[in-house]
């Protein structure tokens, strides 16, 4: 079974605008490719990209009609990736307040009590900062925000936050534990421009979910939230944590069967040895469990952060397709790498992103493994620096050396004499990202067109 989890933008990007639409003559293909190279707007109306079929077309039409600016940006993603730019979803940790005490919480160390936050003078996101973030992200060509937390639906200023992000400029998703999501709220959330809810569900039965979330009654609330989203026609997916033992349980297959029956896609989140699971490595997924999960992916509508999409397998999505923005302005490579790549209150988003893509671990041309999940060298040299008595997030210049950078002229505040010439082995051994089987570095629209397409 194909992954029907692909939402509207993923389907759009499963192919891309560089791919010649079917039925074009060679002359037309050449003309079109030249237009791409010249940076001219091309007519996308007849471009059949993504999976073939009515559903894809309907989704493309929906996004194009409803959020034309977002649609245009997303159609440029393949081009941006080919140029070595980020197409990151901004996972926005606007507030860490939460009504749950989930045992796997990865950002607990970031929480500061509100009154102490004020008294200690920490700089945090205000709505005017969010507007600037939105502006800079839009100018960079990014098209996705995920509002996360904490529990976003606890925010008094939720509507203003969504407005500040600007639903016309972004596809907006929102994480939630579902506790505060009833029918009226779902209808309202949809009306203010949120496109998708991602609900946490960690057990097919109330007992297992409620224990993991440490919130009796929460399973019932998630069920209510799913119904509410469906009734309100608000796109909904599930998010569930997988750890080593869970994948072998009957509960796991029951969970998948139930999700399939309910026709809801499920994002499977790997337990990582950070946050509340810091140093808990015996329950982390290994290569064996990853292989088992891949088999499940064929049978069920599930996906992980490593699932190939957008017409290419980019491997680890850190910085390339995902960044986390903390409440205090620190940009991190993903929710599990508590490394500050730079602070938004100190320098522009684009500068931070471009410098980060210059770090070998986040090389936009390389297909890296899930570095914070399986790469022992990265965990030992980078992730472990964020453990214990470290103040998180740890600044990039405290962790990376010049050896970690591709272009030694763009290393920010890293000590120029910090490297000792050691090669980043994982990077050296990683294959290049491929675009439909072709090396992305060698990709050229004209050449592709001349050869008759993909």
């Amino acid at each position: 079974m194909a992954n029907s989890h692909n939402d509207m933008f993923q389907n759009i990007l499963e192919g891309n605008k560089f791919d010649p639409p079917p039925g074009l003559s060679n002359e037309e293909i050449m003309k079109r490719a030249q237009a791409i190279k010249d940076g001219k707007q091309i007519d996308l109306r007849n471009t059949q990209v993504g999976y073939e079929g009515v559903e894809v077309e309907a989704r493309q039409n929906w996004l194009q009609k409803k959020k034309p600016h977002v649609y245009d940006k997303m159609m440029k993603y393949p081009e941006k990736l080919a140029r070595g730019e980020s197409i990151a979803i901004i996972q926005f940790q606007y507030d860490y307040n939460c009504n749950f005490d989930c045992e796997h919480c990865s950002i607990d160390k970031f929480y500061v009590p509100r009154s102490w936050e004020k008294a200690s003078g920490r700089r945090k996101f205000e709505l005017e900062d969010v507007r600037r973030l939105s502006k800079e992200a839009d100018e960079y060509g990014l098209g996705n925000f995920v509002i996360t937390g904490g529990e976003p639906l606890m925010l008094k200023e939720y509507d203003q936050l969504v407005e500040a992000i600007d639903p016309d400029k972004f596809f907006i998703a929102c994480d939630s534990n579902g506790w505060l999501l009833d029918h009226e709220r779902a209808k309202h959330i949809k009306s203010i421009g949120v496109d998708k809810m991602q609900l946490s569900l960690d057990g097919v039965d109330a007992q297992s979910h409620d224990t993991f979330r440490r919130a009796p009654g929460s399973w019932e609330r998630v069920m209510r939230a799913i119904d509410a989203c469906k009734e309100a026609d608000l796109h909904v997916i599930l998010s569930t944590v997988i750890w080593k033992d869970r994948i072998y349980t009957e509960e796991w297959t029951k969970f998948l069967d139930w999700a399939k029956e309910t026709e809801i896609g499920t994002y499977v989140v790997f337990a990582k040895p950070v946050g509340a699971f810091e140093n808990v490595t015996d329950q982390m997924m290994t290569e064996k469990e990853n292989k088992i999960l891949e088999q499940f992916e064929k049978e069920y509508d599930i996906f992980t952060h490593m699932t190939p999409s957008y017409g290419r397998d980019i491997g680890c999505i850190a910085v390339k397709r995902m960044v986390s923005m903390s409440r205090y302005g620190d940009l991190m490579p993903c929710p599990y790498q508590h490394v500050s790549l730079g602070n938004f209150f100190e320098e522009p988003l684009g500068d931070i992103l471009n410098r980060s893509l210059n770090i070998k671990w986040f090389d936009p041309m390389k297909n890296m493994p899930c570095i914070c999940g399986v790469d022992k060298g990265f965990i030992e040299n980078v992730i472990s620096e964020t453990y214990g008595d470290s103040e998180v997030p740890v600044r990039y210049d405290k962790i990376f050396t010049t050896d970690d950078f591709l272009d030694k002229d763009n290393i920010g505040t890293v000590n120029p004499n910090s490297g000792d010439g050691h090669e980043v082995q994982t990077w050296a051994e990683a294959p290049l990202i491929t675009l439909k089987g072709k090396k992305i570095k060698a990709y050229d629209p004209i050449e592709e067109a001349t050869k008759g397409g993909t």
Binding site: W116, G121, R122, R123, F212, A276, F345, G388, E391, R395
Partner: protein
Amino acid sequence: MSKKNKKQFTSNVTGEQWQKELLRTWKRVVNKVGVIIEDEVHEGKRNTKLVLKSGTKVIVDDIRGRIKPQYRVRDENGKIWFVGAHNVDFSFQEDNTEENSDPVPIYRGGVRVDGTAEEELVLPKRYTMPKSTDEEIKALKEKLKNNG
């Protein structure tokens, strides 16, 4: 802490038992001296272990975490540790005479309004950055450019 907050959960994943520990009001702990109740064993780099011995006096200067609340403390040598909020005892200080106890400052919107002097806070630089604007960012970029 009231009894109703002491509900215990046993993890399906790690088997660990957990119960909610509440942070004390920050006013009652920040810049206060406490005593470590049980040895704090922390993992250092290259598989080393660091121990903050029970009975050690520490001074609290920051707070983090809600599920596993921690105080950032300094020991007598100035070394920074993050210790579990439940593992620091302040009771000896609370029994002190009035002249030794600090008045609780009053804040409104993060600004001290009780007329007393603001204590100097030891915070990482990034928390004390002035509020930036587009102009400030531009100026910063210009400065960085000029400095090569």
